[in-house]
Amino acid sequence: MTGKCGFGLGLTAKTVIITSLVTVVALGTTMLTGQAFTRLHGQVESILDSQLEQLMTSVRLMQQTESLISLGLIFSQAETHHDRRATLIELNDRLRWIHKLGADLGGAPGNEVIEQIESLHNRLHTNTTTLNRLLRKHIDGLASPDELETIRRLSHENRERAGEMSVLIGYFAASIRHDLARQSSRLSRDSTEQQRNLVRLSLLLLAVVLSAGVFFAYHVVGRIKRLQQAVNNPMVSPESLRVGGHDEIAALSETLRGYVQRIQAQEAHMRGIHEELAFLAEHDPLTSLANRRHFDAAAHRLLKLAPRALCLAVIDIDHFKSVNDLYGHDVGDRALRHVAQLLAGSLRENDLLARFGGEEFVAMVSVRSTQAAGQLFDNVRQHVMDTPFMDNGRTVGLTVSIGLAMAYPGGEEEQGERHSEPASTAEALLQAALREADRALYEAKRGGRNRVCMAPQMRDDDHRHDLSNGAFKDA
């Protein structure tokens, strides 16, 4: 369908593009969000796994180290082996735990401090072993003054070392805490930034989705609706089916337009046939004049509506049979058409003219007076007589005899008193007029043909007039 659109993109292509765009933006948003989460998660993980753990470890370590000071004091003051052993066990237990905790911190930044702590730990451990040996002698009363001095010195040193260790660990903990605070604020910044990014991406996604919606609403749904409205219109105009564009909808509208055009052409054709049939039903095929049926209907209407007097004329071609006999029916038919044309040409557009059959024509015209009617039809007669029928170089002279009868529509009552046959309906009026006109025609024939006779009742006096040669002839 898009093939004929040249460079235009089809609806399918546009749908694919828009869907892809929405998908790409949605996927991008999801992926970026995922990445942001992974990064944030990684940071939290790092805080929890290393920093927080190290902070807790150093806090534990500090507690244990502080207990070393008091334990060291108790140890050096032990008076019995029981106290010495008990305190030694506690001391060694703590030193052991401190060693492990110190090792836990080993991988942390600030390794120098850890090394110092480790070295202090070793010193404490060695001193404690030495102290234990000397204390044992002291409790047994076997220690020399030098050894007693060593006990005092080592004991003092242990307290000092434990104190230093505690300070170092405190420093270590503080730096971890500092680090933690820094990481935490970075995390906070990062997460705020990620939030912003996410909002931006979501807005972009929203914009893309809305644009897609607008595109479909106007470009697709709107044009389809326009098409639908155009088709729904009782008078479908093919031009109104043009929706523009170069896509499937445009192609659909073209198809629809072609379809409507075809339907309309078909319709016109059908109407023509119908009109022709209607014409044939109401007209004489030979002369194309109205037939009797049409004449009757039209005459009824005229009789009902005409504001003035009407004149009914029955026109008969004189000696027509001899034309047929002499020249053949074809010539006869052409002669009939010739006369019909002359008659039609002599009458006004609004006048009724019909062929009643054979060589007889009937006309009904609106006239101002009987006189005017007589004059009109005499002119007709004259015109026919003056316009011979030319056929193959032959000139065939033709004349007509015309019988006239007057009818007075809408004024039957006032006129009726004067009529011998009161007519209460148009039909009656028509029939009466036809009878009268026939009689007048008869009179015209009998009077020698090529003349116009007015039915006697229609005249102003009681006589039919022969109107030929400028004067009525009485029927």
Partner: protein, 513 residues
């Protein structure tokens, strides 16, 4: 055979914090909320556990080390035997689906489970089972429970999934012996590395052994049996008492395998509870019977009189009142003889015995302890008691490896305070070259009578005789039965409480909340 302990929980804390962080993103768009919900589904349903244990075994292969902690970590979890003692304390099939004893009692036919594979994908079959049993019997096997299998004459394979064990003499206890950690099935292809990279058939496989810190077990997704609820279990080693206290206080472990002195105070915490275990752990002051002056019966008897056992009652804290013993025998056994009163506390009598034996005042002796709470705190009162009768005592704490090497293997010690956790292990007194250096023909004879007893009554009579014999010989100072309890998180369930095997079975363990 020798001692063990607790467990931890930093990991779970981190998990919760992480989950909490993920869920706490106020002000985020609905998209994020959905993402968040996807990211932390059921964030509180844990499938990991951290268990504190005191002693780190020198090897993770219970067939080569006497350290019971090897079995506590691996038995039933990583390794499996042909039989097993179930959670209710009853013997049940494991890698053998059934067994039949011959009429004369001189052979057992075991039908093996099919479709079992080792963690490395190798198949378990009759050849592997026969290999595992023959390996125990080898002269140089170093298997700590080899004596249990002394009556085995030969092991034959009968088809792909049948083995026949031929005996020198009837042995009704063989199916039980096969349930010991030292009798687990191992594959010839992986056995050489089992000490550090154990490969078994169990529901868990080794994740990682971080020396000095912990052993991680990971769920074996190809396990032949029911998959355990836990995906991971960490056994965290707690070398110092202060460490145990710290770890428990901070909730860094979910439980502690076997109570210690420091666990007592944690019972006030609502998140911990005590769960029973079915062990028969005997605390003894072991004596090197070959080292003078302790090769003298009078000296050993003096030690038995010298120790004031009542002071040891509170070794596990005031909430526990351990059962005192007078021999190397659990009071729950029908053959138990109460010999507590044989050596009543009497420093005077002890001094007199020492004097008779010619032990001079101020004789120096080292009391060696393993790195355990009971060692540290139990040794103090024993040292005081020994000092009371004239010894000069120094308590020396050994690393567990050192203890196993110097004391247990090389017998280089005089006195040591130690816990024997294996059930019914009085046979150790009949072993040649055992670290007590008892090596007593009379006792060996008694033990042979125990083994060849025709009836339970007869066997029990000989067992009683055996108890009396070692008590009379004052081989060791028999102290007490350890209160068999674990300190565990309240929300953990599925413990094998009745199993007498020193083990901590994970397969039914799960979090209830």
């Amino acid at each position: 055979m020798l001692d063990t302990l607790p467990d931890l929980n930093l990991f779970s804390l981190s998990c919760r914090l992480r989950a909490g962080f993920r869920c706490l993103r106020p002000g985020m768009l609905a998209v994020l909320t959905v993402v968040g919900m996807v990211l932390c589904p059921g964030a509180l349903a844990r499938d990991d556990v951290r268990l504190g244990i005191q002693l780190e075994p020198p090897a993770l292969d219970p067939t080569v080390t006497a350290s019971a902690s090897a079995g506590e970590i691996t038995y039933g979890n990583l390794f499996e035997g042909l039989t097993m003692v179930g959670p209710n304390g009853r013997l049940m099939p494991r890698l053998a689906v059934s067994w039949q004893r011959s009429e004369d009692g001189l052979s057992y036919d075991f039908t093996l489970r099919r479709g079992v594979r080792f963690h490395d994908g190798r198949e378990f079959n009759a050849l592997v089972a026969a290999f595992s049993l023959r390996r125990i019997l080898a002269d140089d096997s170093g298997n700590p429970q080899r004596n249990w299998f002394a009556k085995i004459k030969a092991v034959e394979t009968v088809g792909a999934d049948h083995i026949r064990v031929l005996l020198h003499a009837p042995d009704a206890l063989l199916p039980f012996a096969l349930a010991l950690p030292a009798a687990v099935m191992v594959h010839p292809a992986s056995v050489a590395d089992n000490a550090t990279q154990p490969v078994g058939t169990g529901p868990f496989r080794l994740g990682n052994w971080e020396r000095g810190r912990m052993v991680s077990l990971i769920r074996n997704e190809n396990y032949w049996g029911k998959a355990p609820a836990l995906a991971r279990a960490d056994f965290v080693f707690m070398h110092a008492s202060s460490e145990t206290g710290n770890m428990l206080a901070e909730g860094l472990v979910d439980g502690l395998i076997s109570v210690t002195r420091v666990t007592d105070r944690f019972m006030v915490r609502p998140d911990y509870r005590m769960t029973e275990r079915g062990l028969e752990s005997k605390l003894i002051l072991a004596i090197n019977n070959a080292r003078p002056p302790f090769d003298d019966l009078r000296v050993r008897q003096a030690l038995s009189h010298a120790v004031d056992r009542s002071l040891l009652r509170e070794l596990y804290g005031p909430q526990f009142s351990p059962v005192m013993i007078g021999s190397h025998f659990a009071p729950t056994h029908p053959a138990y003889v109460d010999l507590q009163g044989r050596y009543p506390y009497s420093p005077e009598k002890a001094r007199a015995l020492l004097e008779t034996a010619g032990v001079s005042e101020g004789y120096e002796v080292e009391l060696i302890i393993p790195p355990t709470d009971y060692g540290r705190y139990g040794a103090q009162s024993i040292a005081d008691d020994l000092e009371e009768i004239g010894f000069r005592v120094e308590i020396v704490e050994y690393e567990w490896d050192d203890w196993l090497e110097k004391v247990f293997r090389r017998h280089d010690y005089a006195l040591t305070l130690i816990l024997h956790v294996e059930p019914m292990d009085i046979d150790i007194y009949a072993r040649d070259d055992y670290y007590f250096n008892y090596d007593n023909e009379a006792f060996k004879h008694i033990w042979s009578q125990v083994l060849s007893a025709d009836s339970e009554g007869e066997m029990n009579r000989h067992l009683q005789e055996a108890q009396r014999r070692i008590t009379e010989d004052a081989v060791n100072v028999f102290l007490l039965m350890r209160p068999e309890q674990n300190l565990m998180h309240r929300d953990l369930s599925g413990f094998w409480e009745k199993s007498p095997i020193p083990s901590f079975i994970l397969e039914d363990l799960r979090w209830t909340r």
